[in-house]
């Protein structure tokens, strides 16, 4: 027990993913944000979106390649092929279309993802290539001037699905605690919280009674099903919210979970009774985040 909050003796189960970091810059931070938000739209879960994406942090002009205000985004997917497809489609439709933007890779590895290498064809022969510092950039003429785009983004190994559950007596209390945790976690680098506002209510279990579905509602944690299913919720628990974390390294996720949980414990939110985590008995992925070890 920490400040009257029970920490379950359980673990969060995460799985390997592929990730890429992009840096989006623009004439001002508003348009960098707009492009980043569009890029990260409909990217909450690989279950049906193809990828999970989120804003990692906002960057000051002296931290971006072209000294303009920027936003770094992380995008995760289950396979290299899907990641390549998602990055290219989203960069083409969400970044190139936003006024004044440019896009650069934010990480480096041997595995390339086509970015400008494919998007350049939009220039219809008027595109200009420039090699600076060993990297090729494409300048594609567009109606507000030029869309500057690095030739490749890069993919690296990553981990998706780190999580913890916040259990409490009502939605007001649980939402407040989850918001505070998400706020602190969003300040960290190398991780994203892919769900809206960083918080998810529709946690899922693997499989369904319907054969065509690969995931369905996490019935053990649905307060409305207490009494008719084998529930993991005790008597006073009437609401559960989950925070899901995707990160580049095991330690990034572990640290984010620690900060999120400790924020809830430290701020002594009323009505919060328990912190737990979602897992599938170790069958889903090789990365296990034991709550009690994380909080040590």
């Amino acid at each position: 027990m920490y400040n009257n909050i029970k920490i379950d003796n359980t673990f969060a189960e995460a799985f390997p993913m592929k990730a890429s970091r992009l840096i989006i810059t623009a004439h001002n931070i508003k348009w960098a944000r707009e492009a980043a938000n569009a890029f990260c739209g409909f990217a909450t879960s690989v279950i049906a979106c193809g990828c999970e994406a989120g804003v990692e942090q906002e960057l000051k002009p002296n931290n971006t390649p072209d000294r303009r205000p920027g936003v770094s985004v992380l995008i995760f997917s289950m396979s290299s092929t899907e990641l390549q497809k998602q990055v290219l489609n989203r960069a083409g439709q969400c970044i190139m279309t936003a006024p004044t933007t440019s896009v650069f890779s934010g990480n480096f590895s041997d595995d390339k993802i086509n970015l400008g290498h494919s998007l350049r064809y939009f220039g219809d022969g008027f595109q200009i290539s420039k090699v600076l510092g060993g990297k090729r950039y494409w300048r594609i003429p567009v109606m507000d001037g030029e869309f500057l785009c690095e030739e490749f983004a890069y993919k690296s190994k990553a981990i998706g699905g780190g999580n913890f559950l916040i259990l409490g007596d009502n939605i007001d209390h649980v939402l407040k605690a989850a918001e505070a945790a998400a706020l602190e976690m969003n300040k960290l680098k190398n991780i994203i919280l892919p769900f809206p506002g960083g918080i998810v209510r529709s946690g899922s279990k693997v499989g369904s009674k319907y054969k065509s579905l690969i995931a369905s509602t996490n019935s053990e944690y649905c307060p409305a099903l207490k009494g008719i299913v084998k529930s993991k919720l005790s008597k006073g628990v009437n609401c559960v919210l989950e925070i899901v974390i995707d990160g580049l390294e095991f330690d990034d996720i572990s640290n984010a979970m620690k900060i999120g949980i400790k924020t809830i414990i430290k701020k002594k939110f009323p009505g919060i009774t328990e912190i737990s985590a979602g897992n599938y008995g170790g069958k889903l992925g090789p990365h296990l985040f034991y709550l009690k070890e994380i909080l040590k």
Partner: protein, 273 residues
């Protein structure tokens, strides 16, 4: 690998061809053979040890560092087809420095003569003073100029700068002479000031940035300058090398496209009048 110090022990009064010095770049090259490298002095073959006092110190890095001292304008072909290693030249040298250079780095503290970085393919050439004709151009009788790498010159250059250049970056802090950037195929050239005649004739593609005001001929057409992101990226790149910003905050660039006489799509950025 090794740190090698070369200091001339005789007064060099005629052409000294140091093309073979680049043998040291070969990873299989035995350092014991270094003193026996053949060089041409006044068209006579000599061992390197007959010209230079040689001192070799082993170090842990994966490349050689070579320091040449007491040079003059008779020293030619230094860094020809240079790869991997770093070469420091402490005073003036002659022509063909870094010609056909492929990788590595060459730093010249003095002035160089003609054909510096001619047909260069990669690597980094840094010249602290001035350079002669045909910098980053094609070699005599050839049609293809520099195809990669970076050349940074803090001083002035004379005629035929970047003639038939294909790729790479050239930065000239000072002035350039006649026929600068003629027949440019591609690449990026930044010049402090163009003082010569016949600038940018027959430019096909590529980017030329002039950090001063210049009146272009009618074969260049003024267009909108919407390349803010690219110019800032380029400025950042140059700043990371020179440790100073070259595009001042009050600079307003005009962008022109041409050479229209050869249906060129090259671009020239120059300061607004």
């Amino acid at each position: 690998m090794n740190k090698i110090f070369l200091e001339t022990k005789i007064s060099i009064k005629g052409g000294l061809n140091l093309k073979n010095l680049s043998q040291v770049n070969n990873p299989d090259f035995s350092i014991d053979e270094f003193k026996k490298i053949k060089v041409l002095y006044k068209n006579k073959q000599k061992n390197l040890s007959e010209i230079f006092k040689i001192k070799i110190i082993k170090h842990k890095q994966s490349f050689n560092e070579i320091f040449i001292d007491k040079t003059n304008s008779h020293f030619e072909y230094i860094g020809y087809k240079w790869t991997n290693d770093i070469l420091y030249v402490k005073s003036d040298i002659g022509s063909y420095v870094a010609a056909k250079m492929e990788s590595g780095k060459i730093v010249v503290s003095g002035t160089v003569k003609n054909f510096a970085g001619a047909e260069m393919r990669g690597g980094y050439l840094f010249i602290k003073k001035n350079a002669g004709k045909f910098l980053a151009s094609s070699l005599p009788g050839k049609k293809i100029g520099m195809t990669g790498g970076r050349i940074f010159i803090l001083g002035n250059v004379t005629d035929y700068l970047c003639y038939e250049m294909r790729r790479g970056i050239v930065f000239v802090g000072g002035k350039s002479g006649d026929y600068s950037c003629n027949n440019l195929i591609s690449g990026t050239v930044i010049i402090g000031k163009v003082s010569g005649r016949n600038f940018a004739n027959f430019v096909k593609r590529g980017t030329i940035i002039v950090l001063s005001k210049i009146r272009l001929k009618s074969n260049f057409s003024e267009t909108s300058n919407c390349s803010n992101s690219f110019l800032k990226l380029l400025d950042n790149h140059i700043q990371s090398t020179l440790k100073k910003r070259i595009f001042k905050s009050n600079y307003t660039f005009v962008r022109s496209l041409g050479d229209l006489s050869v249906e060129g799509k090259g671009e020239i950025f120059s300061l607004k009048f």
